[in-house]
Symmetry: C2
Subunit: 107 residues, 2 copies
């Protein structure tokens, strides 16, 4: 779909927080979830996602812990923090307002 850089930046945080709100996940898995959920339209590069995850962790919106996949491979899992849930609610509200404004201007 070739989303603009701005849209990718604006949507990545609420998407990640939303996914983690549904349950714990990990970097590589999040990329696949977003890919599947968008019917293949959104393909995040891993090198782009990890810095975002680190940034969100620094802000204490998410937290990480090391785990293991069924295969034995190690994975770094993330879960949502309280502050992250608050932020998610705020960003969802803002997304809705802007989305409504853009829709209204369509009619």
């Amino acid at each position: 779909m070739g989303l603009s850089k701005d849209l990718v930046a604006a949507s990545s945080t609420p998407l990640i927080l939303s996914i983690l709100n549904k349950g714990e996940s990990y970097g590589y898995g999040i990329i696949q979830q977003v890919h599947d959920m968008s019917d293949g339209d959104i393909s995040w590069a891993d090198g782009m996602l990890y810095p975002i995850l680190h940034r969100l962790e620094k802000k204490e919106w998410i937290e990480s812990f090391w785990g293991k996949a069924e295969t034995g491979r190690k994975r770094k899992y993330y879960r949502l923090c309280k502050a992250g849930l608050d932020e998610l609610k705020l960003q969802r509200k803002q997304w809705k307002q802007l989305s409504n404004m853009i829709s209204q201007l369509e009619g």
Copy 2:
């Protein structure tokens, strides 16, 4: 409302293009339109808007011409170009998809 930098960046272009799709306007006027439309939540600084308008003009999504206000004050008006309408349609579609994804993850 204190929109995040990312959201401002991602929404400013479709908002401006949408407004110009409704009819010609000018920098200062667009700021007021957005302000009113958002119930005062969104207050763009003029120093932020003009560079965006110039950028959109460079991409030939909009074009400008000098005009006069009723008061006699000179104004630079902008109108939407064909390429700008195409881009607007695309961005609206993308906004909707992302908005839907974020909403779906809510339920």
